[in-house]
């Protein structure tokens, strides 16, 4: 993402890598809004109890703990990047970013483990709108989380060899914050409501 020539920041004063990521995330927000609104429409038209009787219950408690893990990764990444005293070395930035990536990977692993249990209990994509929307929405988020882990590990590696610009690293962090920030909303909508 390092631009080929020296680019001015323009009247907005936002670096290109960050502005590009913000535009991408705006599209992502609308994408998730589409999924969530589809879910809410189908749920609102559902006749009878929701979740439907006879379907497995979602692991609310385990996922609550997992939510905290993901939120912690966001906080640690934020701390890695915002050092008020200016004492932080590059090695420390990389170490904290790596911890954030590992917490993200933990989140995805626990999610995957819970999925295998739910599948064993008979909740599949074909077992009705309840299962379909659960795997669709949570699965889409998981795919984003995997992409965010890969992107952050890539950025950590590039930080070591100084091959990523400060703006490029900021863009990767913005993506991470998006993945962390959208999850509590999905958790409340899918697991609790």
């Amino acid at each position: 993402m390092v631009a080929s020539t020296d680019r001015q920041r323009g009247s907005l004063g936002i670096p290109s890598a960050v502005l590009g990521m913000v535009l991408f995330l705006a599209t992502e927000v609308m994408f998730f809004a589409g999924l969530v609104s589809a879910f809410l429409v189908v749920k609102a038209r559902w006749i009878g109890a929701w979740p439907p009787p006879g379907q497995p219950r979602l692991p609310v408690e385990v996922t609550a703990v997992n939510t905290v893990v993901l939120l912690a990764s966001g906080v640690i990444l934020w701390l890695a990047a915002h050092d008020r005293a200016g004492q932080q070395t590059l090695a420390a930035v990389r170490r904290r970013s790596l911890i954030a990536a590992l917490l993200g990977a933990t989140f995805v692993t626990v999610q995957g483990f819970e999925w295998t249990r739910l599948l064993a209990y008979g909740l599949t994509m074909r077992s009705g709108p309840y299962g379909s929307f659960f795997y669709l929405i949570v699965g889409t988020h998981a795919a984003h989380a995997v992409a965010a882990v890969v992107a952050l590990l890539w950025a950590v590696a590039r930080l070591g060899s100084q091959k990523i610009s400060a703006d490029g690293f900021r863009a990767v962090r913005l993506f991470w914050y998006f993945v962390v920030g959208v999850w509590p909303i999905l958790y409340v909508l899918v697991y609790l409501m």
């Binding site: 009247s11 535009l23 992502e28 609308m30 998730f32 809004a33 889409t140």
Partner: protein
């Protein structure tokens, strides 16, 4: 440029990151797909005029063929012709030149965008030849017809069609990010927001509208793909799904999409009419603000496509009101264009003819849209040929007329040569006159109640009205005539590429920055990066010896 000369053909023209090469790749792919889309239209129009007869170059059209032809004609003309030519092709080629920089901000992302688009083109073309044939559920792909091979009989065609459309969206998403970021961050020094040419603004607004509207459709498309391939029931009412849900997700994108392609077309017209009437663009700021207003209102009109889908009548009233409101900013822009022409020194060169034709023909499309936007009249006209005629009077001016205006106007810049003016005018009249003879009869057919999805009246003899067949034949003959005249353009285009009269840097005496660069512009565009001193439309300024005042000249 010695370095550029040494590059191989592959790295220079196929895997280039130069915005001009990528723009031309999009442009040529779009033109090729335009030929494909036209051929599909030719085949199904022949079937409608002469039902059951073998169509030359195709053969007998079966009902499944017919559905696939109509569906892919619509999808290709919008997603593989209008979008790549108007936005990706011209946007890529012109934005860096018009804002005075050397390339897009993300050149490699740009190359990836075209590669994904190329892949989507291959997938949509392959989907026409797989077992079962191409997808036939209309470009709107309403479930349950689109969701199950049991209904649409295209187990391969339907998913491939959906994948092609999704890939195309990814390509334009990457392109849109690039356009907006480049215009925000890479403008020439001195180019403030009000000095940006209207065409560039229009591509930026269109890209923002596209990016904001495409997310829900991608979500819906994933759900539809899962219904097709994994056997989920998102849109299946038997299992608790909701088929109307798709219509909302589709039209939430589908209607803004109309303005995504309309706005760049309006931008092209603005550039052309100012140059060929030697006048300042009337009400630059009004045009800009109404374009923003159009973009915003376009998000609140989508359900006017669903008046007969069983939506709440109170909601239908609301959407009628928003739909009628959106004609206000568009009418305002049209008035601004007419005011620009008023009192100008009008020179009827080929690009100007196309631009004037755009205003005239689009007006017909806009006015007939009022009847379809109002729920009371739409209930009668819904799914009739009146709808088909209406949206062709909008999309044909947008994609084809404005596309030709842009091609003939920027051809000297792109290829360093002029197109032949006489052939250009023959092609213009040979396209515009038959165009009206295709679609005016369809208004009459639609008003008479003819349904747009009927393949042959053999199965619906009680609906067959004998007097109307002449109108169908008239429309088909006019289409064939119009398509034959396109060979004049192809001949002119290809001949001019190699043997056209050499063009200088600024043959039209225009103000915008692209005309400062050599024709064709080399890698890096400008010998010396320009600085901007004024707006793009300072024509016939009193007290100046020349009737134009380029943006880069110091005071």
């Amino acid at each position: 440029m010695a370095h550029a000369q040494q590059q191989s053909f592959w790295s220079r023209y196929v895997f280039s990151t130069d915005h001009k090469i990528i723009g031309l790749q999009y442009l040529f792919t779009g033109m090729f797909m335009g030929l494909v889309g036209s051929f599909l239209a030719y085949v199904f129009r022949m079937q409608l005029a002469f039902p059951g007869e073998p169509v030359p170059l195709f053969g007998v059209v079966t009902p499944l063929h017919y559905n696939a032809l109509v569906t892919n004609h619509g999808a290709i003309m919008i997603f593989w012709v209008a979008m790549p030519i108007l936005i990706a092709g011209l946007g890529n080629y012109l934005i860096p030149l018009m804002i005075g920089c050397d390339d897009m901000v993300f050149p490699r992302l740009n190359r990836l965008s075209y590669q994904i688009f190329f892949l989507s083109t291959v997938v949509i073309l392959v989907s026409l030849f797989v077992p079962g044939g191409g997808f036939g559920g209309a470009w709107t792909a309403y479930p349950p017809l689109s969701a199950s091979a049991q209904y649409n009989h295209t187990p391969w065609g339907a998913p491939l069609w959906l994948i092609a459309v999704a890939l195309e969206f990814v390509a334009f998403l990457l392109g849109g990010i690039n356009f907006v970021t480049t215009v925000m961050n890479a403008r020439a020094p001195g180019m403030g927001p009000m000095q940006i040419p209207i065409f560039v603004w229009m591509v930026v607004i269109a890209s923002i509208v596209f990016m904001a509207s495409v997310g829900p459709l991608v979500a819906g498309a994933i759900m539809l793909l899962f219904d097709q391939l994994l056997g989920t029931h998102f849109y299946d009412p038997k299992a608790g799904g909701d088929p109307i849900l798709w219509q909302h997700l589709f039209w939430f994108f589908g209607h803004p999409e109309v303005y995504v392609v309309l706005l760049p077309a309006l931008g092209i017209v603005a550039e052309v009419i100012t140059v060929f009437s030697r006048k300042k663009l009337f009400a630059y700021k009004t045009i800009l603000y109404t374009a923003f207003a159009t973009g915003i209102i376009s998000f609140f009109v989508w359900a006017h496509h669903q008046f007969v889908a069983g939506i709440d009548p109170r909601m239908a009233h609301l959407f009628t009101i928003t739909t009628l409101i959106i004609s206000v900013p568009i009418a305002e822009m049209t008035f601004a264009f007419i005011a620009t022409l008023y009192g100008g020194s009008i020179e009827l060169r080929t690009p100007m003819l196309w631009a004037l034709a755009f205003i005239a023909e689009f007006l017909v499309g806009g006015v007939t849209g009022i009847f379809l936007g109002a729920n009371a009249t739409d209930i009668y006209l819904h799914d009739s040929y009146f709808v088909v005629a209406h949206f062709h009077y909008t999309f044909f001016p947008i994609a084809i007329i404005a596309g030709f205006a842009a091609l003939t106007y920027w051809f000297p810049k792109m290829f360093g040569r002029h197109m032949n003016e006489t052939l250009g005018k023959i092609h213009f009249w040979g396209t515009i006159i038959p165009f009206n003879f295709i679609f005016l009869p369809l208004f009459v057919l639609g008003a008479a109640g003819e349904h747009r999805r009927i393949y042959s009246y053999e199965h619906f003899s009680q609906l067959f009205t004998p007097g109307l067949q002449n109108l169908r034949v008239l429309a088909t003959v006019a289409l064939v005539v119009m398509l034959l005249f396109q060979f004049v353009f192809l001949y002119n285009f290809i001949r001019s590429l190699f043997a056209g009269e050499k063009a200088e840097e600024n043959p039209w005496k225009a103000n915008t920055l692209e005309w400062l660069a050599p024709s064709p512009p080399p890698h890096g565009n400008f010998a010396e990066m320009p600085t901007v001193y004024r707006g793009p439309y300072e024509y016939s300024v009193p007290g100046r010896p020349l009737d134009y005042w380029p943006q880069h000249l110091p005071n």
